[in-house]
Each structure stands twice: as C-alpha cells, then as structure tokens.
Symmetry: D3
Subunit: 338 residues, 6 copies
C-alpha cells in the first residue's frame, strides 16, 4: 500500500528534566523525539494510516535514532535525507501550578535548517501521496526553510495533493532572522486546502488584529477574512485553550468551511501530564476524519478527543489506536479497563 | 497468637509502565505484588491483625518473591502451596485525564488457576481461624477455581468461621470459559455472612437488573432482594464511585444489615495516585471494624477512609497502621506531620 | 561585593521516598539539602543578592556535600564551621489526597545541635552584612541552639544589622528538652526588626490565644499585641494556608507595620509538587522587596508569588531568577514559554 | 528494494532485574525485545541489509511493541501475523563472578507456539527473498512449531532460497513435550545450505557423541559426519566458548565447507556486559560476509567480531553499523573515539 | 517448627550512592538492610533453616521496614523489641580500581546501642533454639552492648545452645568509648563453641601478635593458642583475603578443630559486585554444614562458596537456595542457565 | 585568600547513555559537566587550592548550571562571562570490551567558540594569580579560540605567572577549520613553563615524527627537542597508556626537566569506570605537587595516582581530597574503609 500522507518538517530531540524538576536540578535528562510535523505523522500512523516524513536529518547517532523512533511507530522514513550537520535539540523544563514550562531551543544551524530548498526533489518525493502536511515552524527557521516549505506546498498542489498547513506561529524563531512572516505565510495559505489556524495566525498572515471583535465572533470573522483572501482554501480549524493554571486547561475546538461552522464546548483537562503536541494531535485527529470520509462534525470531535488525550501521555506525540480515541466520543467512562 | 483471618485467592504480579507512560513506551516495568484477597490480608496485617493467605503459587523465583512480599508485610504464608506452573501476571498502563488505565491480563493457566479443588485440605488449612475472605475473582478463573472457592466457603461455614465474600465481578474472566456466574456466585452468596457487593453484583447473582429503580433506592432494593434470597446473609457493603475523570473520583459507601442501613457521603479524590485495590482496602477497613468489635457506623467510616487512602499510595494494597486511617475520621488536617 | 544577608541555622539532608511512595516502599531515597535558614539564603541568592550562611556542619562527606550544594546555588559558605559529629537528617514521605506527608526527624545530637554558643565569633561573622536572618528552629534544638540564636540576634542588633526572625514554631522539637519557648522566643522577638509569624507564633511568645477573635481580626489583633510588646519591632508578615487536601491548598498572605496593613487574597494551589519550604520562600520574597527598596505591597506580592512557586518545585528551596517570580505578578499566563 | 533475508521465529520479551540484582530483589524490570531469529534480523539490518521477520505475535500491547522495536531497527515487520494469545516472555537474572545468569522461561502457550503450520502461506511470505534463517528454538516449542519450521525450510529450498539453520539446541524446551529432536532436526539439516552448529548439535542430530575424539579433531570429525549425512549441506560454522567465570570468557570460532576449514584463535572477553545473543550476532556476522560476497575467512572474522561486540552491549541483539565491527578486524585500538 | 538458630545483633540501614559514584555525587541513595548477625540469619533462612533475630529496633518507619525486610527473607522477627530512638545507619560509597569503598557510620546512639543488657529476657528469648550467633560488633558499640552480648552468650551456653561468635573486630567502634576489647572479647571466646576469627582477631583477644610466624604457620599457631586459652572452644574458622585491587580479590578459607585442619585454596574473584557481607555469608555457609550434619570439609567448602557468591550480589546479605551454592562445589560451569 | 590558579577554557555538558548502553538505546541521558581546563580546576580545588576559571558561557539555564557545578566543587566562577549563544555539548556512549567509547561533539558555534579574543581583559582577569592553565582544545576551536589562548598565555607570562599548557591535541577539531596547529601551538609552547605533552604532541609542534626512535628513547628524545626549541620551557610531563581492552589499561607516566627525568612503571587499571578526564587529573596532580613545593618525583607520583583514581569515578573530573590520593602512594590496601 502506498503512503497516503506525507509530512514535511524537522525532527527534534527533546531533552527534559525528570518530573517537575528544574532543568539540570538533577543530572538526568529524559529523551523524546518530536517535531510538529512528525507528531502528526506518528499520530496518523497510530490511527492506521500509511504515513511518511520528508526532511533532512543529521547523519549521526542522534539523527539515526530519531528516524528509528518514527519507524518504530510505523512511519515510513525512506524519504528522509541524512546529511552532515547537527541535530536540532530542545531542552524542556516541565512546569506546575503557576510555573510555566520553559523550552530552551538549541536548534539553530541544524542539518534541517541548513538544507537548501533544491536538495528536495519534490515530484519524486510526493509521488503517489494524497496529502501533504506542513507547518509554520519550517518557514520560520530561515530562508532555506521558507523556500523549501513554499516549494513543497506548491509542488503538492500542482500534483493534486490536498495541502494541509498548520500555522504554528513562533515569534522567537521569526525574530532570529529577517524573514517577513506575513508575506511568506501568505504564500503557504495561498496553496493550502486545509489550514489549522486561529485568529492570531490569520491576523499575522493578513496583518490584521481580530481581537477587538465580540468574543463569540472573533474566530468566525477571522475565518471569513481568510476565506476571502485565499480563494482555494476550504477548511480552517483550531483549538481554543483557556489556562487556569499550568496543569489545568479548558480545551475547545472549531472548524469552519465555506459552508458551515462547527464548535465544540471546552473539555476540562485537570492534571495535565504533558501539554506539548496537543495541537499536532488535534490536526492528526481532524485529518483522520477527512481520510476516512467522515463529516466535519465527526472529524472535529475526533480531533478534539485526540488533542485531549495527548495531554495525558508523556512525550511530544500521541500514538494510540483509534478505538481509544473513539471511546471518548461515547459514554465509555473512566474506570480501569480490565 | 493464631491467625484470625485467612484469605484465599491468587497472588499476581503487576508489571506497570512508569508514571503515566503508555505500556513499553520506555523499556522499564515497575513490579508490585497484588491479588484481591492478598490485598485484604496485607491491609489487615497493617491494621495489626494476624492474617494468613491460602493459595497455590508458582514454584519459581517469581512465586517465591510474591510470597516473600506478603511476609514482608506481616502476612503468614505458611499455607501457600508452591507448585509447578507459571505465575499469574498483569500488565498495567496507568491512565490520566480522559485516558483510562488499561489492564492486560496474562494470568491464564497459572499454577493457581490449574490447582484442582482437592489440592486443598480445608479443615487443616482453616484450623483455628475466625474469618475466611474470598472474592469473585477465584471462581471466575475456571472450573477448578470455582470448585475450590465453593469448597473453601462451605468448609469455612461448616467450621463456624465468618465467611466474607467480595463480589469483584469481572466479565472478561467469566467469558474466557463457559462458567455460569449466576449459579456459581449464588453458591458463594449462600454461605456468606458478609458480602461486599453493589446492585450490579447482586443483579448478576439474582439475574435481575436493579438499575431502573429511583437512584436513591437502587442499592437498598438490591440489598433487600439479596437478604431475601440468602437467609444466612447478615451484611452487605459496597462503595459507590463517580468518576469525573481518570484522576478525580467521588467515593461514597454504604452498609446494609437486616436491621439497618448506613450511608456515607462521597469523598472527593482529586489527583489519584493509584486506584487499584481501592475496593480491597474498603473491605479490609470494614473487617477491621468487625474484628475489633466496633459498630457498623465506625466500621463503614473506617472502611471508606481506608479506601480513600489507598488511592494515595502506589501499588495494589494499602499497608498503613490504624492511626493513619483514624486520622481521617477526625479533624487532623492535611499538613505535613513534623 | 560583600555579602549583604547572612542566615544562621542548621543544614539538613532530606532523604525522601520517590514520588508518592511510602517510606522505604521501594529501596531508594532522593536526597535534597535543606534547612529553613539555608532555604532563605538560596532563594535570595537566586534573586541576585549576596548571601551567606553561618553554622556548624558535620566534617564528613555528608556535611561537605551539603555545603557544596549551597555554594552551587551561589551562597557563600565561608562562614560555615566543619566540626566532628553527625549530620542532621530527616526522612520524608510525601503524601497525597488525604494522606498527609510525614517527616521523620533524625537530627538529634547533630554537629550543629551540639555547637556551643561560644564557638561563634559573632562580630567577625557579621562584619559587613546588613541583614541577619534566623528562625525558631535553632532555639528549639536545645540549650546550645537557644543560646547561640539569642547571641547571634543580639550581636546583629548591636552591630546595626536588620534582624529578621521567622517563628517556625515546631512543638515536637521543643518537647524533646525542657526549654521554655515563650521566654526564649521573646528574647528573639525583642531584638527583631522583622518577624515572620502568625497569630499562633505570637500567641506562643505572648502566652495568649488569639483564635477566639472574629476571623478577620485574629491576625491584626495578634500583630497589634506584638507591636505593643516589642517596641523595636517594625514588621510582621505571614502566610495563611487553607488545605482542601494534601495536594490542594489556598495560600494567602499579609504584612503589618506600625503604620499599615496589607492583605492578599488566597491563591489556589491545586496539584502541589512539594509544599516544604513554602514559608521560607515567602520570607525570601518579602526580604527581596526590602533589599531592593520596594514598598510593602510589592514585597508582599513578591513574597506570596515566591511562596506559590515553591510549591511547584521539588526540594526544600526555590531557586529561580526574579523574572520568573515577577511573571506571576503580571498577566503572563501559563502557557509553555517557547 | 526487496527484502533479501527473512527470519522465521518467535519474538520474546526479556524482563530482567537491574544490574546484577537477583530477580525481584528490587521492584523493577528492564525490558528488551529478543528472540534468536529476530536478533539475526536486527543485526543484519544494522549491517545494511534488507531484512524481514515472519512469525505470529500476540495481538496486544506487548506484541505490538515487540514488532515496533524491530521496525525501529529497520526490520520489515509486514509479514508478522497478529493473533489472539499471549506473548512469550522470559525473566532474566544476570549473574556475576561464579553466579551464572538464570533464565526463567514463561513462553509456553504463546500466540507463536500455538500457531498451526498452515497459518503460514510460505510461497507468498518468501516471495522475492534470497535467504531464509531459522533456528532450533522453533521446532523445540512443540508440534506446531516443528511442523511450521520444516514447512518453512522446505518451501524455501523449493523456491531456491539459501536456507540457514542455527541449531540452538535447548534441552528444556524439547523435554516439555514428546518431540524427537533427532528426527525433527534432521529434516531441517536435510534442507539447509548453511548450519550454525557445533559437535553437540550435530551429535543430537546424528545421535552420536563426538566428545571422545582428540580435542583438536572433535569439531572437524563432527562436521565431516554432517557433510556425509546431509549431501546438500555446504557450510557449518560455530563459536567455541571457554568460561573462566560468568564475566570472563574466551570465544573462538570456526567454519567448515566441503573444501576447507577456517579456525580463529580465541578472543578474551573480560568484563562481559551481556552474553545473551552472542551466537545470533555470530550468525548475522557470517551471513553478512556471504551476502556481500566475501570469502569464508572474512565472513568468519566478521562473525566472530560481531559476536564479541555483542557481549559489550545490553540486550539480546547487536545493532551496529559495519564500520564498528570492521574496526575490530584492523588495528583500530580501544581509546575513546573523539 | 521451632526456630533453630537465633542471631543477636543490630539491624542497620545501608544508604549507598548508585553504581560507582562518590557519595552524593548524584542526589540518590540506594537502601539495603544489613547488620552482621542479620546477614547470617537471612543467609541461613535462604538455605532452608528456621532462623530468628534478637535485638532492639527503632520504633519508627525505618525500624519497622528493616524488620519487614528480614521477614521477607523468611527470618522470624518476633523476638525484636521496638523502642524509641533512632535507627543505626551507614552510608556507603562503593569503590573501584584503586579507590577503596568508604563506609561512613551514623550508628551512634541508636535504639540498639542504647538498649541496656537487662532489657533482654534471655531464657525466654532463647527457649527452644539450638544455636546462638553473635559477633564482635555488638560488644564494640559500648558498655550496654558489651554487657548484653556477654549475658546472651552466657545464657545460651547455660541453656545448652551451641554458641557461635564471629570476631568482626572493628577498631573504630572500640575507639569511640573506653572499652577493653581484649577483656570483653575474651569473655565471649570463653563461652563459644565455634568462633570465626583469624590470627588478628585471636591476637586482639590474647594480646599477642602472630604475624611474625612463617606465613604458612600464622593461622595454625594462632588457632592453637586460642584452643589452649579457651578449653571449651571447638572450632575456629576464617577466610583469608588478598586484594589485588578494589574489584579483584583472592579468597581462601580454613577451619581448625582440636583434631584437624582444613584449608581451601584461594578463589579468584575478578569483577566484584559487592564485597560487604562476605564474611557473614561464609559464617552462614559453615553453619549450614554443621546444621545439616556434614563434615568439616563440606562445611568449609560450602562456606567459601557462599562467601564467593556473596560478592556477586548487591546488598549486605546473600539470599540463595542451597542448590545455587552447591552448583559451585561441582562442575556446573558458568553459562546462562536456560 | 586570593585565587592562585586560573584555568582558561570551555565548559561543556556531557550527555551520556546510561551504563554501557548505546546512545539513545533507552530514552535517558546522564549529565556531567566537563571541559579539560575545568576538570583541572575542580581537581585542584578538591586538593585544597584556590582555583578559578576564565571563559565564556551560554547565558541560559544550561550555562548557569554548568557554572554552578563548578562552584559546587569550590571553583571560583566570578571570571566567567555569560553571553548569548549556545552551550557546547558532547554526547558520550561508553564502550566495553572491544567496543570503544564514542564521543559525538555538538560544540560548534558555542558561546565560548564565538567569543572574540578581545572580550577578555587579561590583566584584570589574571590579577593576583600565580598559575595559568590552558590546553590545546581552546586554540583548536577556531580563530577566536586560538587568538584568545595565545593572548592569555602571553599576558600571563608578562604578568609573571607560571604558564601551564596541556597539549590535548584533537585532530578532528583542527580539521573543522583551516588553522595551522604547528604554528599556533608553537606560540603557546613558546611561553609555557610547564607543558603536558608526549612525543606525538611535541611532534605536531615541531613537525617531526619521533616514533622511529627505540621505544625507550622516544619520549626523552622528543622532550630534548622541545627543550631545545623552547628555551623558557622548564618541565614536560605526560602519561603513557597501553590499552588491552576498552576496560583494561596500563597507565605509566614520566616527567622531564632540563636537569632530570623521572619515569614511573605502569599501573594496571582493570575494570575502568570512566576513562575521560584521566589526563586532566594527571595534570592537576602534578600541579598539586608544584603548588605545595614538593619535588618532581612526588609530584609525578601524586599525578599518576590522581590519574588512576579518575578512572574509578564516573564523570569528567576527579574531586577527592588529597588524603585519598596519598593513600595510593603508601601501602594502604584496598579493603573497605570502615
């Protein structure tokens, strides 16, 4: 069976202090593999889809192991290129109560960030696939990343793939070089079928501030503006997060198409295990709905359930079979399954 | 001093993933010894009672260590028989938020499950004891277990012991063979003085569904039916659990005798450490009241407090001195004891 | 730059069971360095102040490592004396839900507790400093500790330092010898500029019970009584803690001067990581305000924020830069910082 | 690129006590995936070959993870069948000095052991491959395993594959049922091109005892007898191990063909990390030589080097790139590579 | 079955740094229960004998757990008295190469050391037993310990028990008070049937230096002198240890009776896991021979094998079934048992 | 007391796989702080000397913690400059048997490597010190490092300090840019009083190959050549290492002055715990001799003993009091110190 969904982005290693300790409070680090796009690939593989990743990885023990971890979870790594250079890292200190988690990026100058756009042969890489997923992290890494992301998205559109773009706006990364996010992200929105973006992401792209609208209209207004600006765009989805403390959030979600709007009430997440990758799990969940031909409502509910479940699992990604997500959509209850 | 309470059942090894990780997410398993009846024995030993276990254990390093763990907690293991065969295992993945814990049983064909009823010399095993505790897990394991449980309970009754039976209905186990739970459990209810059972357990035994009654009457109605069906039965107790999430439950409890009913309002358990064994700790707590000649109200309150405390301790059993349980019955507060 | 704040007290080693396990449930102990006064020194060093500790430490590997841990966090250890004897220890079992944490002290007869008052050359030790911090733990350790604490406080006052005294009343310690807390603590209150004490601490000193006053007046009444009794006293501050469960507290705080009163509403702390040292972090936070010339309101808010944050970090002390505390005073939110 | 080497056998989970502890001395188990044939597949994948495994695996979290671990190391798992049943386990206590390591098998009645020979469609499974590797463990598991192994080997031979058989004689497994090892293993030797077997394995098959021959002739005599008995057999290889203590072995190796004999002097292995899987690494190393067209001498030297290296790595298998094995064939030395 | 062997001495907790780390190099301690006499009791229980311990233990969580660990290994703890006071501790830093292991004692003033001789009712405690084992550690702890040890040994002799005394001379402990080892130990040698002592121990007792004799005669000469001085003494046994490095020792052993001498050549122990408790395992092994009616040669060989095996197991004691020790007496070899 | 010895170089974090695992074989990394020059500073601080480090460290949590670790061990960190940029890392996989340890450097572009020579104010930094220690690692990092090292050494010489230079030649680092090691290292040799260098280091500097000389003359000949080429040079010292396996080395050492030569026979190190930093411990040991006014023989013996001991301790540096090193110079033996 050929790979149906391809994800283009950087693999990262997360090096985290144990439990709720401060970074290096004790001399130990827990390692997880992550990366926004890889997270989506792994979650979709867990849902039973044929997925693969495209990217450039350091040709050393770290890079080889990061790729191996993806393979372990059933993701095809044959499209990864191993190149000299370093592996992108991030150090994580997990917060608690009113102490937010801290991410210390050490990803500059990685093999991925240095990979020129023309090192990728897009027609060959995309052959046979139906979906291409990419995110706003890649263009934020620098000129090479921005060029590669745009080339990838355009090639995918040209080849008839469904292009999925997750905004994932990270101000810190954009500030490290002189890229123009509005211009670059616009080029990506312009070829996307589905975008994961809330009013802030759309605001960056359209250089507008939607936050002045009445609360209930902020997202619809922003979505409408995006649909006007990008005629090929078909679907806009996002989660909304209210944080009562570091460990206790409410998570809601919505999806807009040109024809309709679906909104789910917030789920209370009290006692969060690991918040990172929640958005990626949401994206994977929504895409699972699309890939299995479900309607927008089901896709959204499956996406929000996947996002919620991600908060209960350590590491960057969710890797659960669909049955365990579907259990949340019903009345399964929370007792031990035995 | 002779042993006053004997518990008949299977020792199990729990192999659990660390923290809130998925099973085998990292290559490590935490080991705990458990088993519904052993949990009761250990908790009662912690409360200062002379307890012992009866059963069959694999004659290998795993079985020897499981028995040793019971000895460590003060339980007499002289009545255990070591026999060829395997040790019953279960793998546990502890859940969080909306992801329920998952138990993967690997207990089929264990030395205990294969032990024929006639391998136990009941009069000799029960000599000198005052209470026999058994649970619905043993008869659910297969024909040999069912026969052994019934023989044990009848021998105990014949010898004048107080027979305690904890329903512990596990559909999955019954489905693995062609046993008839209603018929088998009835034989156990028929010789029990005290049963730990809620309306669902009673419903299985009496082949009735009590859930249609008004909420406040479900348990009284079921208890009344049980008292009618089993004339020797003196006491029915159970906890009631409402699960707001995997980590946050409300736990209430009640006891019915032929003369009265006692109900305790729910305790909120928010931030549960380990939910397994909560029912066994409740049973042990109630039995502690009986063994020390306290009234039903005290026994029930002590039982619920023990059950609540179990949720704060990792592993299958509670092993705390009575003082630490009694502290919950008063106004001791929650600050560090120093 | 010379050291501005000196803290006099005992260094302790905390030996704690992992996670929420009972003590020695598994054969492993986590080690943290602590001690009420050292905790204040470390927190202030983290806030950028030049701090040092005064005391007597066991001249062995344990004592050397405890001092090293302070140095690691930027505290000057040159005023520590290494003497034959043992290191004070305490064993900690961290509670959960309704099971309180248990501290098992093993600090009797430590090198610190045995150090006679005249082993300290106060004028030399205090030279150049502006603040001396001590707590009610030291005088509670025995005659030598009481004498040393009083000598230290008087010497500091004589030398023009700002004397800070944290009540930290521990009944168990006082009961182990025949000291008179009211008399001894009075001598310390009598030379203090700032005391950290609530109505119970003041009640011990003045041998009065303030708890009968209307709830809102208990603390003001007690403070007023203290100001009357101790004419040099300038400031009284304390936190107030309401414990809904072992893991969920509300923490409020107030400060009284002769001219005014400031009270902060309670912060909800749900999912506490480590409650020990919360009071020390509060003291350090308030002192940070004083040391940087801020007003009472800011100092109190900074102190309460520091105390709250301490509950999110494992170990006895808080060691965070001021920026991370100040973030709580604003609208920074709780999301991952990346 | 199609898979060149297929390995048919059972996946096992190893659950080992940490370090040199006795089993369950502390409540923790380290998990590794293993199985003689899987070990060969992984080692060959590490050497850069396209490998795959054939077999039946428990359709639960344990089986899914075992397969995932193989995928992680680059082995194709598409030919695994997931079936109801349990996962084969073994518990390991690693020895030291004069205390031998102990293996406690808990693999009876596994999904693999219960898989009937006709559940495998050999022509389809073997399509496109050039080598089939199997071992004496599979036929030892019971009638189903014996039938499946013979069917696999015959189908492979019929399809023109090079059949590799590793004797791996385990008396304990054969004794658990009434199989006739001489007869069954003969059928496998009869269709093998290459066998890994020493004089004891050959002795079992031919029902002869070669140990009476002069030391230097034992293996040549046994090999000659095997070549006479099995006319299609082309190559016999084995290691010879002398154990000075549990941690210090000498490891030599030889290969015989119909035309020649190659013998390597013993390597001293002092300070062994993990001895399990040494023979599988040897087999993989020799096969690497064959697969890359090297002569017998190189293949043997590469095989012995791989076997030695296995002893330096925890777990059942070796997963190193060829360069790290080849370094042992030269004069690379043992200093830190930096 | 009544307890045959009683061991009188102090239970200790060992708190050790992990692996080969320096003490507190990382913030973690591994806990083991030990004590020379308890080690003997546990080893004998492992060999299948009914053993019990006599002593005084701190009445807190540490003491309760230490007793529980003995129970876990099958030792009867009913004769332990729980008393207020602290638990004896020792901190261990395990050495390597040329860095010797370091023990930091923190056992002064323990509940055991403070227990007066008259807190023990010897006739009642010894009733029914056949052997009493004690060691030179107890009298070295102070006047109370010395008195108690002498009283115990005399009571045992009066009651017809076989008295076993293990010299275990520890200069550091004797130096901490003004006891006279020669005089006190003489009183113990004077009532012992069997002593574990080499020429240095005997030299302390007899106030002679035997080291000037020719190497081969040192131990026989010392033993002869002891037999002359103590007419009731029947057996003297000891190991001799040559240390090539911290990790590599040669261990020999001998036993003298009034009628004969048995000497075993040294065993090479290269790659020692844990050297502590080697002498206690030797004593237990020799006693096992006596208890099972074997001759001196077998007892000595079993004792040396047990001592060697102890070096392969972490912790203070050996707990292995006799079969695993006997395997060393034969030709069992060192390969994995599977 | 002012700092006597200053060490200029880069602080690194070592991230190592646990035990003997391959890198990322399990998802955990052990963290140690290191760096050739920091290792020397820490070892000297352990020996009781006032030491400090000079350098540039990343102004983030990693850099702050690395500095804190030095402070913990008593090294003055006041001369460290915190600058934007990343922290130099290296990943370590510890080998065994014939599998060499592997270092994966990830130190390019670190805050230290980017620090221009003129960011250091040498006269101010060196004020009051007597020794400056630097190594060949710093000039190998690139032009900035080379310039800074030369400036430092020249400033130290001009200010009358004793300049110590440790060759530490790392080909891989020099190859990463176009530096000329012979020319740059010559400039450092030209101002050094003491160099740690063997014939290979000297060969690089003098562009000669000394390895053709008779074995016993290689080092004397190389030293003589160095003394001729660098007239101010007073002392050349080095260790010689023969590696029998990854875990078993022989370590010898020598020192040459213009007046004499001292050579020590090799010490056997069998069962090495951690080989990294052995050369730095040697340098610190020799410097300890110089700083305490001992002769060359003592200094060399102390140096070799320190180097040997380093192999017994995990991590990059040795931190032991002189007494534990001196024990090796005598006849102290290897038994447990208790």
């Amino acid at each position: 069976m050929t790979t149906r969904i391809l994800c283009f982005g950087e693999l990262l290693l997360r090096l985290a202090s144990p439990g709720r300790e401060l970074l290096l409070q004790s001399p130990q680090l827990q390692v997880h593999v992550g990366g926004a796009e890889a997270n989506v690939a792994i979650a979709l593989a867990g849902f039973g889809h044929k997925t693969g990743v495209i990217g450039t990885v350091a040709d050393n023990a770290l890079g080889r192991n990061a790729a191996a971890e993806l393979r372990r979870h059933g993701v095809d790594t044959a499209r990864l290129r191993f190149a000299p250079g370093r592996m992108g890292l991030y150090f994580l200190e997990t917060g608690a109560l009113q102490r937010p988690s801290e991410v210390l990026y050490d990803r500059a100058d990685s093999a991925f960030a240095r990979a020129a756009a023309d090192t990728y042969d897009w027609p060959a890489l995309l052959a046979g696939a139906q979906f291409l997923h990419l995110s706003g992290v890649t263009p934020a890494l620098g000129r090479a990343g921005a060029d590669a992301a745009i080339a990838a998205a355009r090639a995918a559109r040209a080849a008839g793939l469904h292009v999925v773009f997750d905004g994932n706006f990270r101000l810190k990364l954009w500030q490290a070089w002189d890229g123009d996010p509005a211009q670059i992200l616009s080029e990506l929105f312009a070829v996307a079928d589905t975008v994961f973006a809330d009013h802030r992401d759309i605001g960056v792209v359209l250089q507008r501030d939607f936050s002045g609208a009445p609360a209930a209209e902020i997202e619809p207004v922003a979505a409408a503006a995006a649909f006007r600006a990008f005629p090929q765009l078909r679907r806009i989805a996002a989660t909304r997060r209210v944080q009562h403390s570091v460990d206790c959030h409410d998570l809601a979600a919505h999806v807009f198409t040109r024809d309709g709007a679906w909104q789910l009430p917030a789920q209370r997440l009290d006692g969060i295990v690991d918040r990172i990758g929640g958005g990626d799990a949401f994206a994977a969940g929504v895409l699972h709905g699309l890939l299995t031909g479900r309607d927008e409502d089901y896709s959204l509910r499956f996406g929000l359930a996947a996002a919620c479940l991600k908060h209960s699992v350590p590491g960057d990604f969710l890797c659960l079979a669909t049955g365990r997500v579907e259990a949340l959509l019903g009345e399964a209850g929370f007792d031990v399954r035995r």
